[in-house]
Structures are given as C-alpha cells and as structure tokens.
Symmetry: C2
Subunit: 302 residues, 2 copies
C-alpha cells in the first residue's frame, strides 16, 4: 500500500474536517500520514465534534499551538498550513512517502505569514526548479493547462512552438494514455486563419511532438472539444489557457475534480476547492468527493 | 398560433430532412411555412424516402431546379439556401409571419454563390442595420456573446464600458428575466487586478447598466460560472467571448442548444449545428432536438 503524506491545509478552513471524516475511506486505499501536531489535531477534533480515529497517524511539525478561529484569515494558520505542506514535500523528497496530497490553503493567509508563494504549484516549481504541469479533472476528464494564472491578453503571445512542444512531451511522459487532444486558441480554431492564426503554431508543435511521442491529436475547435462524443474518445486534453479548460470541466464535474502536479520528482494531488471558510466548523456536511478522488489518483498511479 | 417562416438551409445537407421529419411535431406548436419550391421539395423527399406531409405548406422561391448532391458544397445549393433565408426575412419584415427559424447553411457554399455574408447573423445585421445579439443555449441555460467571431487576441481591447453597457441593456430588453449573470474576462476574474484588470471596466458597465435596468449580477469568475449552483440561480449569462460561453454550454447541452438572434425588429431562431454533410441523405437518424427547441423558443415568446 502506498504511503501518502497529507498536508492539512488552513486549519481555520474545512481541510482538517475532510481529513478526519474521510480517514476510514482512504485508509482502505493508501497509508495516510497527516502533517499536524497532536495538540492542534485535538483542538480541531473538539471544535468539530468529530473523533480522531485510532489509526490516524500524525507527523509532528513541532510548532507552537494557537487558537483555531473558524473562517478567519490568519497569519498563524497561514504559517501552519505552509509548514504542513513543506513537511509533506520533505518526506516525499526523502522517499519516506510515495506521494503527497494537499488540502486547501488560503493564499492571503500565506501572504500574511510571509510565505513568498502564490500557492502549492508555485512553491513546488521553486522547490524543484522544474516546470510543473498543472492538470485538473477527474477520471472521466483531465485537462492540462499550457498557460495558467496570467491575464487573458497575455495568452496569445505565449503560444510558441518550442515551449508548447516541450509542454506536450512532458505531459505525455507524465500520464498513461495513448492519445491526448490538443485544443486551438481561437474560436473555431481560427477557421483557417480568418479568426486568428496561432493555430498554425500549435499544429507545428503537435507535429514535432508527434515525431517523438505519437499520441497528440488536434488542433480541436475549443467550444466543441468537450462534447459527449469527444469525451468518449479522449480522457486527456491540453487547454491553451485557464478558462478554456476549466470552465467546461467545472460545468461538468465540479465537485469531483482534483488538481494534479505533474512533471516533478514527486507526485502531488490536491482537492480542487478552497478553504470554504463560510462552512468551516459549522456542523454542516462537507463534500469528501474531491479529496477521495485525489487519493484515488495516487492509488491508481503505477 | 404563431406563423413561422422556415428557411430550409443548404439542400445538400440535413436541413430538409429535419424539416420533413419534425413537421408533425412542430405543427402542434406553430404554423410553419417552408421557404422552398415544390419541385425541389419533391426531389428531396424522393431522395430521402420521406413523404411530404399533406399540410406541409410551402412558399415558392421561383428558382430553377437543380440536382441535389448530398454532402456537396455547391454554388447552386448555396444560392438557394440564401434565397430561402431571404424570403423568410422578407415575410417577417412584411408582418406575414411572426418569426423565422433557419436550418443550417454552408458558409463556403454561400461564398461560391457570391453571397457577401459569413452567416445568418451577419446578414441580419446588414439587412436591419442593427447590432444583433447572438444568444445560444437551451431552456436550462442561455449565453449571450459580447464578442463573437474575432481572434482571441482582439477580445481584451473590445472590453469597453460604453459598448458593453449598451450590449447589456439591449440584451435585458430582449429577454424575460429578472436576473442576468455577467462574466469577467480573466482567470479568477482578475483576482483583484493581479491577473488582468479588464474586470474594473466590466464592473463599471454593470453598475451603470443597473441604474437603468437593475438585473445584472457580477462580475463572476468565468471557470465557476457554469457550475450546478450557478445554473440553479441563473438562466441567462453574458460571456465576454465565444469560447468562454460556448465551451461550457456545449459540454453540458450539445444537441439541445439553439441560436437566437436578439435585438432586431424580427425574431430569428436557429438550430445550433451545421449542415452535417457527412450524414445527409444517408438514411441514418438525425437529431431533431435543436430544431424543435428553436421552434419552441418562438412559441414561448410573448
């Protein structure tokens, strides 16, 4: 059974509740290790009125305890969530675990705590000095983003043959699939150049990538790339920009989706939702789907 | 019962088959008038082995007949489909019908025939010298496109307060709804300006439009605008560009969707698919859903 380091996310959010409630489900699939000090865990458990399972194995961060303030952006919880994440990464680097799964952090809390990263993927890129690939989705549909968190107006100039070709090949090496659908940039994939010409660059990148690993199809017309017929044929897609891939994905599979960091020395999966401060510690029901799918992805990896 | 002029689209495509097969269904909802000469109709009927219903009322175009060539792009069929459309528009202009529904034409065939328009909407804009609004969708979800068939790189500079405000108000006047969701342009709707700042313009346009017709909400983060929760709350959305709205729409409701031209003196609805030359006159099954929904939209209009 694979060993998975789980970072507990922002403790003022829903991460720890998910970890506690899903433990009995995920322990059937992997051996989880939780990056949290016992004292903080006990505070959360009391506040949530959710018992700590007997076999809930923790790895100490050895940080000072602080009061949990449900739904609040705080420096303490920001720092703690970063330390929890860092510990998970270190265990993976050392080979003590096979992969890491991360629960949601709050970007503003990281900022308050002086953490110099915008998020997990950003941090991982820096830790490993490698171009992590961000892939989101669920078993039915995965989308890798060629460009991510940049203004839309900056996207077209990023469509360049060499970086795109490199991205495609790195992506192909990171997944197990014999075909990948690559989207165009413009409406109707440019309609023969009338509605934009970046598709000619994308086509070249596809052709050159196919000379090394022959699994890329496209370019596909973006607005009909995610219709039922296409989804029957393809499970992996490359989107040229954030919303091109994520708007259809989230329209279809909102609460099932996960976030996977590929092309790194370690495998990291994550829930595809935030800290949900509005429902944290309120006693309502939280969805475990995304988290369980994130663990499932690790379990299914060769 | 409303009278509807139906243009039969490219006769080498699936339009006429849809019209014949759906007649008994749509005649329960509207009074259809088909823009086709009797001789051409009879040729199509024979070729399709689908009988012409007794009450299939046609309006003659008085054009020379020509041989139907299933699946072929031709000058004759291009010209004929334009004439059929033009006749429908003229009947609507004259008040002889309440609305028009169009079956798919082939753009290349129009080009061969010397028709100087890229498509129906383009032609309607010119006929009426008015800014037609293109809305696509089905009863569960309608998306109006602020920009349509332009390269992606030209979209950001089109985000301007006055034209957007005008668009919003024209759209509000064209539909019956007490709320409309307006999307941002950038990932995470710009995340407070870090990922692009066009959202500040969109917000201003929304605020000013709300001073006249107070039904606009937003800006919404594009990639989570079409999740189930949002779709429960909103039926009408304004997308800033083609694929932002249409990729999620088609992922969700591909064969149900229709195309509606708003903000014109006449109402025009259309199927949201092409001529499907690959299956025309092949005896397979064609989906009537989009066409029936296009008729249904007219029926439901006040």
């Amino acid at each position: 059974m694979k060993r998975v380091a789980i970072s507990i996310g922002d403790i003022n959010g829903i991460g720890i509740e998910i970890a506690l409630k899903a433990h009995n489900i995920i322990k059937e699939r992997v051996k989880p290790l939780y990056m949290i000090d016992r004292e903080m865990l006990e505070s959360a458990s009391k506040l949530l009125k959710v018992d700590i399972p007997n076999d809930f194995e923790t790895i100490a961060l050895n940080l000072n305890s602080f009061a949990i303030n449900p739904g609040e952006i705080s420096k303490d919880s920001g720092y703690y969530s970063f330390a929890s994440f860092k510990k998970a990464v270190d265990l993976a680097k050392d080979g003590a675990v096979d992969a890491i799964a991360t629960l949601p952090i709050h970007k503003k809390a990281w900022e308050l705590a002086g953490v110099g990263y915008k998020g997990h993927t950003d941090a991982l890129r820096d830790f490993f000095k490698q171009d992590a690939i961000m892939m989101l989705g669920c078993n039915k549909l995965f989308v890798a983003l060629y460009t991510e968190h940049i203004p839309l107006k900056d996207v077209p100039k990023k469509i360049q043959k060499e970086p795109l070709k490199r991205f495609l090949l790195n992506f192909a090496k990171s997944i197990n699939s014999d075909k990948i659908a690559v989207l165009g940039l413009n409406p109707h994939a440019g309609d023969g150049g009338v509605l934009g010409d970046e598709e000619s660059i994308i086509i070249e990148a596809i052709e050159e990538a196919n000379q090394e690993i022959d699994i890329f199809d496209g370019v596909f017309v973006p607005d009909i790339a995610f219709t039922p017929k296409m989804r029957q044929k393809y499970r992996y897609f490359v989107a040229m920009y954030h919303d091109q891939g994520l708007a259809p994905l989230k329209a279809l599979y909102f609460d099932e989706s996960i976030n996977v960091s590929l092309n790194l020395p370690i495998l990291r999966t994550s829930v595809d939702h935030g800290t949900a401060f509005d429902i944290a510690y309120r006693g309502g029901s939280v969805s475990l789907k995304s988290y369980i799918n994130a663990i499932e992805y690790i379990n299914n990896e060769k």
